[in-house]
């Protein structure tokens, strides 16, 4: 399932997938896979993404 909330939060911060990937210390393809719902990130990556986008885990990852 696509994570559209993550995509919109990233766009709201005016960050590209590459920018977010660099902040989180992962590859661009990994961020793309998380957004497309092809990869379930670990809690560590979820937290890193939330910190980078100033959002909570609930806002970005809770269904």
């Amino acid at each position: 399932m696509k994570n559209l909330r993550l995509k919109s939060a990233r766009a709201a911060k005016d960050l590209s997938q590459d920018d977010l990937a660099k902040i989180c210390g992962v590859s661009r393809q990994t961020i793309s896979a998380v957004e497309k719902g092809d990869y379930n990130p670990t809690i560590n990556l979820c937290i890193a993404i939330c910190k980078a986008l100033d959002r909570t885990l609930d806002e970005l990852f809770w269904e």
Partner: protein, 179 residues
């Protein structure tokens, strides 16, 4: 193969390993020998290693069946086993390239391409020598330069896959941006 040739190959492998350490230090942006991968890439690579293991397992089982049936291949035994190693490497590389887990976070791709080109050039030398000296075929079987041919084929397969993947990714990224 004589004992001298065996020692030569062993020394060659050791020199190759030392060269690899120096090259990786040069090719990685943070001067580390080890390549860093993120969690998704690590997961994909682990699966890649599993598939490579099954490939080598299947290949060795096939060789065993051929040996029981006394079927001889037109290659020396060392080349037959080296082919198994190359097949395993190809499976791992192909899987990682397709799943975006080949390039690590600290890899400098341009420097790696230089290393690939240098490796290819190093492998062409024994083949050219074999052709010039007429030692390409020994006792009706393809000789030592066969190993270099296998390495070149592997490099070519991996490089072609990378190019195809890059072309596919470019169109996929532009589609994502349109969304």
């Amino acid at each position: 193969m004589s004992i001298a040739a065996s020692v030569g190959v062993a020394v060659g492998i050791m020199v190759g390993l030392i060269l690899c350490v120096i090259w990786f230090k040069f090719a990685n942006n943070n001067k580390k020998v080890k390549t860093d991968y993120d969690e998704r890439q690590e997961m994909i690579r682990n699966r890649g290693y599993k598939y490579a293991f099954y490939t080598v397992l299947f290949y060795e089982a096939l060789l065993m069946i051929l040996a029981i049936g006394r079927i001889e291949l037109p290659m020396s035994s060392y080349a037959v086993h080296f082919l198994g190693i190359i097949l395993g490497c190809i499976v791992l590389c192909e899987y990682c390239v397709w799943k975006d887990a080949y390039w690590g976070l600290n890899n400098n791709r341009k420097r790696y391409i230089i290393i690939f080109a240098f490796t290819a050039a190093l492998n062409v030398i024994p083949i050219a020598g074999g052709i010039a000296g007429g030692t390409l075929i020994e006792d009706g079987k393809i000789g030592m330069p066969m190993l270099n041919i296998m390495v070149l084929v592997m490099l070519a397969v991996v490089c072609i896959t990378m190019v195809i993947k890059q072309i596919r990714d470019k169109s996929a990224v532009s589609e994502e941006e349109e969304d």
